[in-house]
Amino acid sequence: MAEDEKDKNPEIVGFCCSYCTFKASEMAGSLRMKYPEGIKVIEVPCSSRVDPAFIIKAIVEGADGVFVSGCHPGDCHFIKGNFYTRRKIAALKEMFDAFSMKDKLRLFWVSASEARRFIDKVTTFYNDIKEKNNEREKA
């Protein structure tokens, strides 16, 4: 893949909980809503299944951004999974902050019915990263 083509289309890996956010992404599909094709959604049983090592691996191996998304706090199918996620990702964000790459990671809460919110969130993330990449290209 040519360099400039890659920068035009950043690639974003998203870990989505299968009970909420993944259902929202499916609903967005059935409603014929569009989100950028650079977003690669990975289904996980619960957002707390995401070991921060997965995120670090994705970023080190070339993803432009990673997001983790699950049910709203309190709505977890497994009762308390996303509370752990929140702690883990908050700590990981602090670590990315220490390495000056905080903008590469985001955490969303999207429930199964919030297809529009899902589209909004991922599109904003995608556009932000694209803008950052273009800025870096110019500099």
Binding site: M1, K6, E11, P52, A53, I56, K57, V60, E61, G62, P73, G74, K80, F83, Y84, R86, R87, K88, I89, A90, A91, L92, K93, E94, M95, D97, A98, F99, S100, M101, R106, L107, F108, W109, K121, F125
Partner: protein
């Protein structure tokens, strides 16, 4: 806080008394020909040294999966080692029942690699030796807790050079009440002051890549880390490292890549995995054959990440590790 002022030689007496039982052991320091090192004493003390000015490995490493089954083990170690033991206990790697952990005021240490012959092994001479912070290891000069205030009991040294034994838990209470002397109020000001706060760690990936250029992925840092305890580490074998097609894929996505492959991945993931339990002892840097400044990264990152939850590794037995617990109402700004 109450404690006992000890006469000189009282600690050795008490330990010898403790060792009279067949089933009792002491893990402490032995002063030998080639320097001071860790030793498990059985029967009686021999060339015992209370303090150890050389740092080679963190003794909590030897306690992993130690289930004493009725034996009693007394640890007479540095605060960083006791803190690592406390963390390992929380991670269910050590059973606490039969272990008495005593932390001893630490003056700082020099690297055992340096082989300095003029380092004294007596507490009273060490204060002078470490007056200048540059003479000790970097990890020790920025240590978060050099006072013996962790574990079941602590050995403190006051400004006039007297030794104090201070209990912190019931087990420590038992130990101290068996020693000679009366319980008195412990002076607030001790020889070793509370550590100063260090600056927030901030770095970028360019510096990181430059610092780790020399890494050969021997994984000694992982093996010698007292709190990096998993038997099935994700980096055993090369399943987690980019190889074959995945390696080429990474090169095409991220540009020129340093070899051996995946060393940035290895260090960043390990940094996260030990973040809440890292005690900043610097055993990783000690084990590194390439002299990479690992402590700077691991200690810096772990201090920041522990700060998020106002946690300090090894401070107390009761605080759970932040990743295994939660509050429902917290971290409102974590989500975007």
């Amino acid at each position: 806080m109450k404690g006992k002022k000890l006469k000189s030689g009282e600690i050795e007496n008490a330990l010898n008394q403790f060792l009279k039982d067949e089933q009792h052991l002491v893990l402490g320091f032995k002063k030998g020909e080639g320097g001071v090192g860790h030793q498990i004493f059985k029967g009686s003390l021999d060339h015992y040294s209370l303090v150890n000015p050389l740092f080679g490995a963190n003794a909590a490493l030897y306690l992993r999966r130690l289930f004493s089954k009725g034996l009693k083990v007394m640890l007479m170690l540095r605060p960083c080692e006791i803190r690592a033991y406390v963390e390992l206990h929380k991670l269910t790697q050590v059973e606490r029942e039969d272990i008495i952990a005593v932390s001893i005021d630490c003056f700082g240490t020099v690297s055992s690699k340096e082989k300095k012959d003029d380092v004294p092994a007596e507490a009273d001479k060490l204060t002078g030796y470490f007056q200048d912070k540059d003479s000790m290891r970097w990890a020790c000069s920025v240590c978060r807790e050099r006072r013996g205030v962790v574990g079941d009991a602590g050995v403190r040294i006051d400004k006039s050079g007297n030794y104090w034994m201070v209990p912190y838990t019931e087990k420590g209470e038992d130990l101290v009440s068996g020693m000679e002397g009366e319980f008195e109020e412990v002076p607030a000001e001790m020889l070793i002051p509370e550590s100063a706060k260090t600056d927030k760690f901030q770095i970028d990936m360019e510096t990181f890549n430059k610092d780790f250029e020399k890494c050969i992925m021997c994984m000694n840092c992982r093996d010698m880390c007292p709190v990096c305890y998993c038997i099935d580490c994700v980096f055993n074998g090369d399943e987690y490292l980019p190889k074959g097609d995945a390696l080429l894929n990474k090169v095409f996505r991220t540009g020129s890549t340093q070899m051996p492959r995946g060393k940035d991945l290895f260090h960043l993931i390990r940094m996260y995995h030990v973040s809440q339990t890292c005690v900043g002892c610097g055993a990783c840097e000690e084990a590194c054959p390439q002299g990479i400044p690992l402590t700077k990264y691991f200690k810096g990152v772990s201090e920041r990440l522990q700060g998020v939850f106002s946690y300090m590794s090894g401070r107390s037995f009761d605080e759970p590790i932040p990743y295994v617990t939660f509050l429902e109402d917290e971290l409102k700004d974590a989500m975007d």
